[in-house]
Symmetry: C2
Subunit: 449 residues, 2 copies
């Protein structure tokens, strides 16, 4: 059997997510993000298409690097407003059986004891379908939301994250032994107290002395997602992540990142296949390549450049409000931007922005189902990735088109499942057990019996 391509829907509890201004398109309903029905319908569609999961991004702040102001993001609805992703999970779980939930939780904003409980609760209620996308925070505006003047320095954030992970592993893996719950009605013992352990942690950033409040869930530690691509971020991913989300602009650069990640994973004592790598992609499909290209041009008409640049300014940390939108590629002075333009084959800033409004800084796969699946296969083979986080242009249309047009083509080629396998998300994605095992560091925190 050929390698099966993994697919998550890339989404966020907001309007438009990666595709700035597309809420102006008559077919877009992402504005209905405040309606539970909107999410239930999406979940049903995703499960109909046998998607592995929905990846729920999150940003706990507003994009205000662009022109030093949040106004562009507010006007264009560039990931703003941004509602809580965790609140969506049990609603979507109520109408699905298999769909996974990759939920972004930002370490600076989530006190560890309560966060561990929330994840365990969701792992219980979803029957082990939860993944946590570990974020260390990047917007200063988010830091101000918790009373800090700025974000903590990048590298320090990973030290904090390492300390946080130790607390999480202790709570999830070490506080309850597997057979602690005995439900002995006659003796009146639900849980054997000798098998429930107080966790003490005196780390550099977190201190705690408490019993985990939740009995063991199916996965215990949720499937761990991570998206850092800086050297420190890659090192963290190599040590902890089971799934890594990358957003390379082209297949060559993806291959480089993937090779580096797999090398570091092996150096960390794990095997290269212990990490599944998902590449960001945005797909525009139609009957023919020509029709898909026409659809792309139609979609681009609705984009809002200030929204796209507000997002890009937040991601890069560089204020792009001064950028001359009419400049040709060769006249752009910033090396980083020139490289970004080149990666997407944009001949001018305007052409680049026209790409950005469709899926953000995402490679665009445009064409017939056959053309798109060709591209997907090329990325999987040439970059050694395991699957895709698929951004939308229009909601729910993009998800429906993926499910109805691209999934069948993937299935015809034998590179996509035709039914879900049973069990937890970890079991489905890795074809192994429900729980993390050595040499993953989580396993070291398990109580030996």
């Amino acid at each position: 059997m050929s390698k099966q391509i993994l697919v998550n829907a890339f989404n966020m509890n907001c309007i438009g997510h990666q595709s700035s201004g597309l809420w102006r398109h008559p077919d877009d309903r992402s504005r209905e993000y405040t309606s539970l029905k909107h999410w239930l319908d999406l979940a049903r569609t995703m499960e109909r298409g046998l998607l592995d999961g929905v990846f729920l991004a999150d940003v706990a702040g507003v994009y205000d690097v662009y022109a030093g102001s949040p106004d562009a993001a507010i006007r264009s609805a560039a990931q703003f407003p941004a509602n809580d992703p965790f609140c969506l999970v049990t609603g979507m779980a109520a109408v699905t059986q298999h769909l996974g939930f990759g939920i972004t939780g930002s370490i600076p904003y989530e006190p560890p004891y309560a966060f561990a409980r929330r994840i365990s609760t969701l792992d219980h209620l979803t029957n082990g379908r939860v993944a946590w996308n570990i974020v260390t925070g990047y917007l200063d505006s988010a830091a101000r939301g918790i009373g800090r003047a700025k974000q903590i320095a990048h590298d320090t954030r990973y030290d904090i994250a390492a300390d946080y992970m130790a607390v999480m592993y202790k709570l999830w893996e070490g506080s309850w032994e597997d057979d602690a719950v005995i439900e002995d009605r006659r003796r009146g013992i639900m849980t054997d107290p000798t098998k429930v352990h107080r966790i003490t942690h005196q780390g550099p950033y977190f201190q705690l002395d408490a019993i985990h409040l939740c009995e063991p869930s199916i996965q215990r530690t949720p499937v761990l997602f991570q998206a850092g691509t800086s050297p420190k971020g890659q090192q963290f991913a190599a040590a902890h992540a089971e799934c890594v989300f990358i957003a390379a602009p082209d297949v060559e650069r993806a291959a480089g990142v993937v090779a580096s990640l797999r090398r570091q994973t092996v150096a960390a004592g794990r095997t290269a296949a212990d990490v599944k790598i998902f590449q960001l992609a945005c797909m525009i499909v139609d009957d023919t390549d020509a029709a898909a290209n026409a659809k792309m041009r139609d979609l681009q008409r609705y984009g809002l450049s200030e929204g796209a640049l507000a997002l890009m300014s937040g991601w890069s940390g560089a204020d792009l409000s001064k950028l001359d939108i009419d400049a040709r590629a060769e006249n752009v002075t910033s090396e980083a931007i020139q490289s970004a333009l080149k990666g997407l084959g944009a001949r001018s800033v305007r052409e680049w922005v026209d790409f950005l409004v469709l899926g953000g800084a995402s490679p665009l796969f445009v064409g017939s189902p056959s053309t798109i699946v060709d591209q997907m296969q090329r990325w999987v083979i040439d970059a050694d990735i395991d699957g895709f986080n698929v951004a939308y242009t229009l909601l729910p249309a993009s998800v429906e088109e993926f499910v109805d047009r691209i999934v069948p083509e993937l299935q015809n080629r034998g590179i996509y499942k035709t039914a879900y396998s049973e069990g937890s998300l970890r079991r489905k994605v890795f074809g192994r057990g429900d729980r993390l095992v050595a040499p993953h560091p989580a396993a070291a925190y398990r109580m030996s019996l």
Copy 2:
């Protein structure tokens, strides 16, 4: 029309909740609290009975005052394990249209910026059905979960809570003007930035400089629940609460608490009817009073005294492990406990514990539907309460019996709705608008236009 009695189901994301050891009863399925289906079925039953809401209690720690150890609570499953209540909401909302959700959120454990967002998100996704039960924290074990050695002193906790409320009101009421979202497709403006305001707060306990991440939800500020009965707690309730949850042992003491609360509410500039008061109650119903009494005795056989006393020790702060279970009432040395015994008419400690295992420190209404509704009416009239938080002995049996046997009797007497009214929870409960109005302090934080 007679005064309509309000009813919430009193519940918690745990086993047995208030009724220690009843998980041993063959008809109890509260052990299934980790299953989403369990909660969906409960929500459907509650809505079938036109309940105003489900009140989701929470305790972010373990009861370890009893014998200075968590072992009794762990063994008996006394509110332990205790999963996150927020995770239940959208699942239950997905299968209901009207049921309200009173969710306990503990100020020391919920960073304000993220908490405000979570509540707003839920208010959106439930179409304005959210209430927040404001808790200031009481278990030292919970404090240790966030790295503190002990709980903060009682009175200081209310100062912290007042500061926290100011942050909440600013975010919920002051950050977005009503007409900020304009969704102007032609000009590409989703939200008018001049109508979205940065909140700055430099309080004694909380500091923040941020825009609320959520557009206005139906209720903005959720319906505010509170349960403090200390002098400081009553003062806080009089200023902020819209609904107050009391747990008086008898109708006379309830009347005293209610009169005091209403008096203070008026002193705070509000009207007495601005606060709806819910009394804790536990009901055991059967065809006849005799059959209900027999049912009660059957249920009591399954109770676990160490669980009941572990809970009571946590609530009171007094270690009750030394209490002689066989002592007669007149021989009990502690005045507080003697008073508790008297309140419930218990002639011995054992009799008291036999009451405690059914609904915790709750008045027990035992009898035919007619007898129980007589008692409910007596409490409503004599104590001037507005309704009940109804604890269960068996889940889902207690809820089903309430819905199928007590609700019809209430309806026959014209003291309970026969259909839900439309609109938000606040509109349903108060028969007024969706939002808080002056003189409630929240209204003062609203942007004047």
